[in-house]
């Protein structure tokens, strides 16, 4: 507990006294132009204390610019950034109780691991003994004991990443920004580091904002995800909401794989929609948040929600939600280990992908190319999107 108090002192400003419903961070209509290019276009966002928030988007969508505005390396042309109620939009980086972990890690090559971690503490004017204690604590936190005297170029990529993390955490910032923190690591290391970051964030109770272009990374780690496209924040949702109820076609395609069928609304009985699609015939959808105003719609269905059956065994009991059946021929089989993705060429003209988990080791019954199948999915599992 005593340690916690010290941390607050180091963070320059005391921890804000937040009202119960006041967000830690409020971005209010932030705009940033680079010449004629609008990098961030009117982003408004609230982030609560203790959240693990991910900014997700393709490269060039403005997510890094937004993060740099939070760190203070860019000043917004319009809008406010409130941290604990104070507008910090024009504050310089060293005046903010926010720290950042850089994509390149930006470790100081002329300083040892210890001096890198202590750098921010020295600038905060912390006492010598306290610095040593805090550095030791940070080194233990990121499991780098025995490496304190090494220079960054004597460390592996994973170790450098840990030093960067320890250095950013050492000042106990109110907000930690992570710019693509795992992009330079290989897949296995990335996965274990993701788990460690989540564990650390929970344990420290700190607020993390991570920028990533990797939707799996965002889904794994974040409690909420903000998807950005062309400078705009297009959806803010939990990972599950984002995946199961994307707000637009673009988001549906950006987050995970999806089958899309374009068509027109034929009928709506207050509960079920029937949409006549060009590539797959009429499809029935149960959709609570219907954009009925529009006639042109898309039906979206995730591959793992599309099941396959042999053509003969088509007669299912017609109970529960309505089932959409699409007849076709398997045109491609892609074995991925844990699952297999089948591409089915539909008789109606389009194609549909179905991902099926490989639950048994030897599957004599697996579908082969050119096999006639029925691809089916329930009306509950698909989503209607505007075009």
């Amino acid at each position: 507990m005593a340690d916690e108090r010290e941390g607050i002192k180091v963070a320059a400003a005391a921890k804000p006294h937040l009202a119960a419903d006041q967000p830690l961070l409020r971005i209010d209509g932030a705009v940033k132009d680079f010449g004629a290019f609008r990098a961030v276009d009117g982003v408004s966002l609230d982030i609560g204390a203790g959240e693990f928030f991910a900014l997700l988007g393709p490269s060039g969508c403005g997510k890094t610019t937004l993060l740099r505005m939070l760190a203070g390396f860019e000043a917004p042309d319009q809008g406010r950034i409130l941290l604990g109620g104070n507008d910090i939009a024009q504050a310089l980086p060293h005046e903010r109780p926010i720290n950042m972990m850089f994509q390149s890690y930006a470790l100081f090559p002329h300083l040892s691991v210890r001096d890198n971690i202590a750098f921010g503490l020295r600038r905060a004017g912390m006492a010598r003994g306290d610095i040593a204690a805090r550095v030791a604590e940070m080194v233990a936190l990121v499991k780098l004991e025995g490496m304190e005297k090494r220079k960054p170029d004597q460390l592996s990529g994973g170790q450098r990443q840990r030093v960067a993390l320890a250095r950013a955490l050492a000042r106990r910032p109110q907000l930690l920004l992570l710019d693509e923190p795992l992009a330079a690591l290989d897949k296995k290391l990335r996965e274990s580091t993701q788990a460690e970051l989540m564990e650390l964030q929970r344990r420290l109770g700190m607020t993390f904002i991570i920028v990533t272009h990797d939707q799996e990374e965002a889904m794994t780690m974040a409690t909420r995800i903000g998807v950005m496209d062309a400078g705009k924040l297009v959806q803010v949702a939990t990972p599950r909401q984002l995946y199961e109820a994307p707000r637009s076609r673009w988001i549906a395609q950006f987050v995970g794989d999806i089958n899309l069928f374009e068509g027109e609304l034929q009928s709506y009985d207050g509960h079920r929609l029937t949409i006549v699609t060009r590539d797959a015939g009429p499809l029935v959808v149960v959709e609570p948040r219907v954009p009925v105003g529009k006639a042109k719609l898309s039906v979206a269905i995730r591959p793992e929600k599309v099941k396959l059956s042999r053509r003969e065994s088509g007669g299912h009991a017609d109970q529960g939600p309505a089932i959409n059946r699409l007849e076709g021929t398997v045109s491609d089989v892609c074995y991925l280990g844990g699952s297999t993705t089948y591409t089915v060429k539909l008789d109606a003209g389009g194609t549909v992908q179905s991902a099926i988990a490989n639950t048994v080791r030897r599957d004599a019954d697996a579908y082969g190319v050119n096999q006639r199948v029925v691809a089916w999915f329930t009306s509950n599992d698909c989503v209607v999107l505007e075009q």
């Binding site: 390396f73 980086p93 060293h94 930006a106 470790l107 002329h110 170029d153 000042r171």
Partner: protein, 270 residues
Amino acid sequence: MRKLARLSRFNVASLALGLAFLYLPILILVIYSFNASRLVTVWGGWSLRWYREFFNDGAMIEAAWMSLRVAVASASIATVLGTLAAVALSRGEGFRGRTLFSGMLYAPLVMPEVITGLSLLLLFVALNAERGFWTVTIAHTTLTMCFVAVVVQSRLGSLDRSLEEAAMDLGCNPVRAFLLVTLPLIAPAIVAGWMLAFTLSLDDLVIASFTTGPGSATLPIRIYSEVRLGVKPEINAICTLVIGLIAIVIVIASLASKLSSSQGESAAPL
């Protein structure tokens, strides 16, 4: 440790020829500086006679002292100005005409020395400045500053910008970030720039002869005027001393940069 590739006979021969081409004339000069004979081309046994002559030659000593003073002063001024120029050019984002200034910085590198020397002479005459130590120093500063700037700028260019940002993020204002992070990292380039400026100033003849005044000849000017009357073995001795000095400076510089930056990155692309 990386294994050294084995050298073939051809490699050895070409290496030996190349080194001989570069260093044989210097070696001969060094050997003949210990020649006892008065005739430059006739070997008369070993002797330190010409070194003694040099140390008793007041005018020559004075010229050498003048050269050293000019070299140290101009290299130091050029290093400060050149480093500042490099920082401004590679970091000043809102600075209009940066490309133009960058280009202008390179101009003295390719400008014939005669033109630089002549234009400086005209300037000093127009300003009615008394020619001597300071005019030569200023002239050498203008010549060597761009070399320093180029060396430092290339080092700054290869430096990750986010290092400075990280320093600011961790509580440094921009000036402190520069002093605590950027400066230590570009220090080897600054040292290399100073060395380069020092040696350039030490061996410059053309610009110095335009900008110096009576009674303040630099060593190259002095040597040149002596040689016109015939090469005295004493010149060999002076040259050997200069070579020795430069060799020591280079060894110290490379040791210093090795110690200061254990990152294994070369200080400057020269």
